[in-house]
Symmetry: D2
Subunit: 257 residues, 4 copies
């Protein structure tokens, strides 16, 4: 029976929170992806037991902080790997997961605050380049409905650059500004200037610019749609079984750590 043979090569994936906006996108992406098969769609009215009944090997959970810990306990105990984009993971919650995984040494759980592969690479490249450049500034650009400025990703990038500069013993960046309109030079995060643009039509974008004598290097990430988390989630699904225990952030699954 050819179908069975084919199935044997395919990862059996369940989606928890399958009826939400993000869940629906993930279900569609799993259905369309090579090498995996959507076997369960859990949400209100569809119990977690469906994952077991349909032989799910891996779940993707984009649900709610109130329910995610119970979902993960259920899966870990049954040997199901977990790829988790739900928010609200405190150090305490991560410790609870690590403890639970102690009795299931083969199970992998990935908890990631950001599944956008490009954002992760941008931050890594920024960290690597920082020490070679006298000057570095960050421009992040988002839709005008965003509440915080600068973005969390920009702040995190600035901190990584600041730390890399400090490790390398770099001086403060050159800046002869003596007359300034309030705010013109942006916000300062760990010695790195960050500028936040808010513009109708944009989604989520960030540019990190490095400068030294006679040259600049720019790393830019553009999220064009709300589905930019999809490639990172699929990467998690494909690789989590090979990373038993708790993994925080997709970097290790990308081979970056």
């Amino acid at each position: 029976m050819p179908t069975s043979t084919q199935d044997a090569d395919q990862l059996r994936v369940g989606v928890v929170g399958a009826h939400g906006n993000v869940g629906r996108e993930i279900c569609a992406a799993v259905r369309a992806a090579d090498g995996m098969r959507l076997v369960a769609e859990v949400d209100q009215g569809v119990p977690m037991q469906d994952l077991v009944d349909n032989g799910a090997q891996i779940i993707v959970d984009f649900t709610h902080p109130d329910v995610v810990m119970d979902n993960l306990a259920f899966c870990i105990d049954r040997g199901i790997h977990c790829v988790v984009g739900t928010t609200g993971f405190t150090d305490e919650r991560l410790a609870t997961l690590t403890e639970r995984l102690g009795s299931k040494p083969d199970v992998g759980v990935l908890v990631a605050p950001n599944f956008a592969i490009g954002a992760v690479l941008m931050m890594r490249f920024a960290e690597m380049a920082a020490k070679f450049y006298e000057s570095t500034e960050i421009i992040e650009l988002h839709h005008p409905g965003k509440a915080d400025a600068p973005s969390g990703t920009a702040t995190r990038t600035a901190r990584m650059i600041g730390a890399a500069r400090q490790d390398a013993g770099l001086d403060a960046m050159p800046d002869a500004t003596s007359t300034q309109l309030d705010g013109a030079r942006g916000a300062e995060v760990d010695g790195v200037r960050v500028h936040a643009v808010r513009l109708r039509g944009l989604v989520a974008h960030q540019e990190v610019i490095f400068g030294t004598e006679g040259e600049t290097l720019t790393v830019r990430h553009d999220s064009m749609s709300r589905t930019s988390f999809v490639p990172g989630v699929l990467l998690g699904v494909r690789n989590i079984a090979a990373h038993p225990g708790l993994t925080v952030g997709i970097e290790p699954l990308m081979g970056l750590d």
Copy 2:
């Protein structure tokens, strides 16, 4: 005599302040340009009379506020057109020039604060586009030796955009920012946010970004070297004779007014 015939087609150009940094660049550019010939290089030790003796039809003056008015009086009285990049032109000085030109109706004098053709086009395009977009922000990027932030060009661009938005009756730009690090959203000039980046390796750059639903439009000007005033000066030399009287800014000679 072929040389004379050839010369008859060529504009005879004198450079005043020919030994300064800018003056030397202009001399080199006039020598290299088609359709014109460098006939006099006035500076300390070389009198203005050289312009007359060598039949200069047009001068380029990048000198000093202390001497420029005398230079221009000398040239106007002798029917020599003037292309002027020297700074310090107050309304009073411009009025003095207009008066002097009254008795020489064929003479043209161009006084321009900015000869970079691209900067002029960028401002014009910004002014034209402004009314069609809900959001507009400006990012200017310069070398770290610059004293003022934002740049004069950025401030002027913001004012032009602000005026165009007001003429069109546009509302304030959308911006849901509620949590902000000081300076993150840039400086505000006439309702337009302006961000100033200072980075080793840069020269002088500016980007104006317009956004509306589903699309953005960007106009960017990059000055890569100190010689970016050259094309504008040559444009002035070629066209000033056809623009008698006083002209402020190269826009009219570019056909933009």
Copy 3:
């Protein structure tokens, strides 16, 4: 009755082809826009007569070449203005519309191949800048599902630049390339090099770069979503009544001609 007073200030808009993908976006946009009201949604099962019964003053038609001429005849005869994004308008069809409008001198019909305001501005700016620059090249970037390379917009932009250069008597662009990998320097359209990038994740983007000594000017348009036609359609709805007769392209309604 306050509602009536309010209504009196609002344009009464009908959408023809209201149930298609584009039609639904337009209905949503009209509902959300200030100063207009959606009064009829015509599609299969909803007759054109609904426009009359509900007092539509203007229609938006994104339907099909097979039906659009009948739709427009119906509206013109009843004094309803038309904003049309349907394709397939030959010179013959445009002549037919002009003739029909002859007997209804107050009615305005806008037929536009491209409602993206930014694309129209980009082309206009390219046309204006071309004569000031020795070099101009075009880079267009689209999703990888696009069948033609370069895009129609890029080809049209190149032709406009080529014509502007010819009018200004510019020489061929400088290019010392003597060793070339096949295709490296792009396609040539009227003397202008055009490069087509195809990349997953992109939507529709174009950059026109102008260069002269020491400086470059770049005009870039980014369509981030399929809804980038919306602002242009709303601009058409707001202005068509003031432009009686046939108008081709949104430029005149943008005050660009």
Copy 4:
């Protein structure tokens, strides 16, 4: 004697080919840099022996293929480290150097084809990002006096991306182009499309764009002036003593290998 104490902390640097264009830039850069001192300027009329007489610990050699091997033999034999930007290093020449260094195990020689730190980082980042993206294309942009298209750096980057994609087992990039103007889709190098722009006003620039569902990542390097090799040369001077033996390319001194 404070001067001696200060000197003891400073690297004593000699420049060979000190009177050429590049040599003069390097002399100026060594003079201006912290932690090093220019002690000898060798060129026609100034013998290599000056290096020894002035206690040079490290030389920088941007000379000519005809003389560089003799220069390096002289320095290696006297225990002087070498940072070399001269061209023409064949495998045979590199083998000769390795052999000579065998008897001087403490001496370091760096031979690098490209000292632009940003170009090296761009290639490294491109190599790291390639496997995560369905699509990657390269746009390189240079002044119009360049003879080859695409540039050597672009070709090398494309090869690195092609190899990384092959290692990761990626399929060919998606591309539905069915109607194409000759050259529009660029040149193909190891499955990667490369586009070469030639524009007056540019110096040397390259952009690598990666795309996957809903997002793109861009790495861009801009060389704004001929001095962009300076930071890489200074990095070589500072680090070569800690890298005995032959090093090809600055990557190992940047900690990238």
